[in-house]
Amino acid sequence: MNPVISVSELTKRYGEIEAVRGIDFEVATGETFGFLGPNGAGKSTTIKILCTLADPTSGTARVAGHDVVKERDTVRRNIGLVFQDTTLDSYLTGEQNLRFHADLYGVPKAAFAPRLRQVLEMVGLWDRRDSVVATYSGGMQRRLEIARGLLHAPRVLFLDEPTVGLDPQTRVSIWEYINDLKKREDITIFLTTHYMDEAENCDRIAIIDHGKIVAIDTPEALKASIGKDRVQISTADDQAAIRALAEAFGIEAAMHEGLVTFSVESGEHFVPQLFARLAVAIQSVSVSRPSLDDVFMSYTGKTIRDAEASVGDRNRRIATRFGRR
């Protein structure tokens, strides 16, 4: 497959701090690719380099076939950007914001009106196009930014933490729009997130920690790579059940959260056997797949929340030294 983004040996250094420490990856055309990692892991720095907003210290990156340093403007014409912080003019209407964008990106005048309607309908804001952006909710503003990012029909849409700062319900609806646009637009999506559940929406994800990619694959493959499902049962006699599990299946079970808990390769195939061969009466069963949380944990040795707490200081150091950009 033809990669639309290819990155090789990319590093970025801010003074003594190495934000990105030699990463390599490729993103195929049409893919939804996610960068998953705690704040301060190097996600935003990488996306900034890919969007031509920061120069790499070393290494190369090509987006849509063009070098992000040497062919900056060509890259910019081919990408759409949605930043973490809003970049809308809240005094203008939705349509005026998009018209501004169209003129800056040189969208042909004849194509503007139909394209405007198309992108605004896609994010459900066509009816609100004449309202001033200040009257939009947070979710509507983010949707307008997504529409704007798509207006000039970019080949790659970059979404930097597209749902950060939104309430859970709005987050879900933003993802519905993103998934919908994947079906309708011929586009590659590159996004960063530190929400595990959002990373599930990606075709492939790269887990990044301390400026390095520690794992890169589909969410399913990553979860499969750490193997077992977790089964929890409650029984009439838990101690007897633990003994019976050891005898019948050779499984080592233990009590967690008041339930008999153990791990098996394939939970849903194991449960029928459990009913057939376990002598103790079972009252309830729950099977849970390994989550990306477990994946993150197994590759980095910590949960994403632990990781965020530890990089907090480092981030603050970077922030005070270089100012907010």
Partner: protein
């Protein structure tokens, strides 16, 4: 019959395809036309925002009106004694206060860059595939247009200060206002390139604006001043626009040549009277220089 059906089917399918198809937008290569289009939209945005912000237009008018009618009327009883018969003190200070009416608006429209930076919109402009000069020039032209509009409102009050509504005079004043507004906006944009916080920008503006105004000779004639004040007035860029504006106004009054000489003596450099054309050229040159610095500064950001 069958072929007709197939044809009908085809058109139907084609229409369906049209509905679901992405509207292809081929973004063209960078060209001077694309940059001019960027200048135009950045300029238009300033106008849209000025139009929707009527409060700003009104509040910006308060200060010059206070100067002209309250200060002007109050002082005229004292200052009037030094003026030739038939010349109102308010007429004398009118050109200077007119310049003041665009002073705040022009510099504050540059402040919108600082706002844009804080609210992120500047980023939308800076990541676009256009030249930085296009954005800076668009901003300066926008600020200049908006400030000139502001000046026009004050210009409408000319009659109250006994300044005649002579078409040629009005045209001259509008042209000079435009030049002044452009230079002031360029000054503001140049500062906004460096200053990231709106509070700091406002504080610096306050620091500059009143000295600029007071040293410009807006409220007093430029001749016969103490040496230190003479030097300071000659350094103040605003002086070089107030003098031509006053000259234009007094040329259109029916007063004696002696009175004209006393009230609008022009700017002198060691006794040499600086021609009006050179005064305007100085203001234009400063505006362009600051515009150049602003462009260089903005090229450096991110």
């Amino acid at each position: 019959m069958a072929t007709k059906d197939i044809a009908a089917q085809d058109t139907l399918e084609a229409e369906e395809r049209k509905l679901t198809e992405i509207i292809r937008v081929a973004v063209p290569e960078r060209s001077i036309r694309a940059d001019l289009r960027a200048v135009s939209i950045v300029w238009r945005r300033e106008l849209i925002r000025f139009r929707t912000d009527r409060l700003r237009a009104v509040t910006s008018l308060v200060q010059p009106v206070l100067f002209l009618f309250v200060l002007g009327t109050g002082l005229s009883r004292l200052a009037g004694r030094g003026l030739p018969v038939g010349v109102d003190f308010r007429t004398f200070i009118y050109p200077g206060v007119l310049a003041m009416s665009v002073l705040f608006t022009a510099i504050f429209s540059a402040a919108s860059i600082v706002w844009d930076r804080e609210f992120g919109f500047l980023r939308e402009m800076l990541v676009a595939p256009v030249r930085r000069w296009a954005i800076v020039i668009g901003k300066c032209l926008g600020g200049a247009t908006v400030a000139t509009f502001q000046g026009l409102i004050f210009l409408a009050l000319a009659g109250v200060a006994h300044v005649p509504y002579d078409p040629l005079l009005l045209l001259t004043l509008v042209g000079e206002l435009l030049l002044l507004s452009f230079t002031l906006t360029a000054f503001g944009v140049m500062m906004a390139a460096r200053i990231k916080q709106i509070q700091a920008f406002m504080a610096l503006t306050q620091l500059f604006v009143l000295p600029l105004f007071f040293l410009s000779g807006a409220l007093y004639p430029l001749n016969g001043l103490p040496a230190w004040l003479t030097v300071l007035t000659r350094i103040d860029p605003l002086t070089y626009i107030v003098a031509p504006m006053r000259h234009a106004v007094f040329e259109h009054l029916s007063i004696s040549p002696q009175a004209l000489q006393a009230l609008s003596p022009g700017i002198t450099w060691f006794g040499w009277v600086v021609p009006i054309g050179l005064c305007l050229a100085i203001v234009a040159a400063m505006g362009l220089a600051m515009l150049g610095i602003a462009i260089v500064e903005f090229r450096k950001t991110e």
